[in-house]
């Protein structure tokens, strides 16, 4: 009796084996029931997995305690000092960030000439004009942070430059401002601005 049962198990065991093999073909580990970046979610009414900040809350590390660092304004007026020390590394960071964000329209040397400008529709400012050369450094930070309006948007005007505050962090915005200043100096420099020991290496 027991032997007969064993034979039967052996004889039909492959069915169970096949069933187990086929049952293993599923995608649970590939598609786990967790929300990853940009995943939709049926849990929330708007269908998005990524949630906006809860109103009235501040994310960890996002508290803006230093007013000048985050606005570039002193009592509502654009300041003319950097909120932290300028070093060679900072200017290089500014150059890298400038070439990513600003050169697209303003051009790598800041004359407002670029492929985008050439194609029309956008008229980027030339950083080497008198008005901007005399503008305080806080002006650049303020513009990157808030953008530029041509006229009143409620009255036929439009925003000619969007705010970059959500894309570039405050330290990098200052670095860009410092680099723009360096660009302005470079385009209006004379031989006297070059240290005497390096003058020989400057072309005519």
């Amino acid at each position: 009796m027991r032997l007969a049962a064993l034979t039967r198990i052996l004889r039909y065991g492959w069915v169970a084996l096949l069933a187990a093999l086929l049952a293993a073909c599923h995608q649970d580990m590939y598609n786990q029931p967790k929300v990853q970046t940009y995943d939709p979610s049926s849990f929330f009414a708007d269908g998005r997995g990524s949630r906006p900040n809860v109103p009235g809350t501040v994310a960890v590390g996002a508290a803006q305690t230093d007013e000048y660092l985050y606005t570039g304004l002193v009592d509502g007026v654009e300041g003319d000092v950097m909120p932290f020390a300028v070093s060679r590394e900072l200017l290089e960071r500014g150059q890298q960030q400038y070439n990513i964000w600003c050169a697209v329209c303003h051009g790598e040397s800041g004359y407002g000439q670029s492929m985008v400008a050439q194609r029309g529709g956008i008229v980027p400012a030339n950083f080497h004009q008198e008005r901007l050369r005399e503008a305080p450094i806080g002006h650049y930070f303020n513009v990157i942070t808030n953008g530029v309006y041509r006229g009143d948007p409620a009255n036929g005007g439009y925003q000619s430059m969007y705010s970059y505050a959500s894309r570039i962090n405050a330290e990098d915005r200052w670095a860009i401002a410092a680099y723009i200043r360096a660009l302005q100096l470079s385009q209006n420099a004379t031989l006297d601005d070059v240290p005497p020991e390096n003058r020989a290496s400057v072309g005519p």
Binding site: Y30, V104, V116, G121, Y158, S160, M161
Partner: protein, 219 residues
């Protein structure tokens, strides 16, 4: 009544058993090849998007840097798709009436995101961190191919574990200088192995022993 089967039917029976086994093995192999094929994985197949955005135009022709839109590629585990605001930064003034951009304007007006179609994906059990690869000298084109020449994006490389491991075992064959990471036309120099080995040391890239540990990609 004579016998139904002739004597050589024995041979046929044996042959059909072997043929059946062979068929089973073949089917398994064919399925295995099929599921690993570029056809099944949709490699080199251009993926239509709701908005016909061209990387070729924006990156190659206009010279917009990768990071202008993919801000978090070097900052976060996930390389972002740009917000509609990024598109509108230019397109509030350029091609403002283009019907191709209707979805973008609608998204900006309503706040509803554009539902882009994901092209490059890894399974959920892979904890891939985008920023560490970019910051340790793996270029965009190492994995994504020359996206700067694609009017519509397609995947150029199937993301198999074996493919990942190839680089984790031999990082010196692929690592480039950090300032060449976003150069989409980068060609590895003749002394790549020498340069790669030097960069691996300089950037503090883990040893292949560590890089091929399970926990590096799976948690």
């Amino acid at each position: 009544m004579g016998q139904i089967f002739p004597r050589n039917a024995n041979m046929l029976a044996w042959l059909s058993i072997f043929a059946g086994l062979l068929l089973a093995v073949e089917l398994t192999l064919i399925l295995a090849v099929y599921f690993r094929s570029n056809y099944f994985r949709q490699i080199n197949v251009a993926i239509e998007q709701p908005v016909p955005f061209s990387h070729q135009l924006h990156n190659s022709t206009l010279g917009i840097d990768c990071r202008y839109c993919h801000v978090s590629a070097n900052q976060s585990a996930f390389a972002n798709i740009p917000a509609t605001e990024t598109c509108m930064t230019c397109h509030s003034q350029i091609a403002t009436n283009s019907p191709r951009l209707a979805l973008v304007r609608e998204s900006y007006a309503t706040g509803q995101p554009i539902e882009w179609v994901k092209v490059h994906r890894v399974p959920d059990f892979v904890y891939f961190n985008h920023s560490i690869h970019v910051n340790k000298g793996i270029g965009c084109s190492n994995c994504h191919g020359q996206v700067n020449q694609m009017p519509v994006v397609w995947q150029t490389q199937a993301f198999y574990m074996g493919w990942c491991l190839n680089c984790h075992r031999n990082p010196e064959q692929y690592v480039r200088p950090r300032d060449e990471v976003y150069n989409m036309d980068y060609v590895a120099p003749a002394n790549q192995l020498e340069l790669g080995a030097q960069l691996v040391r300089e950037y503090g890239i883990m040893s292949p022993d560590q890089l091929t540990n399970c926990w590096v990609c799976h948690r």
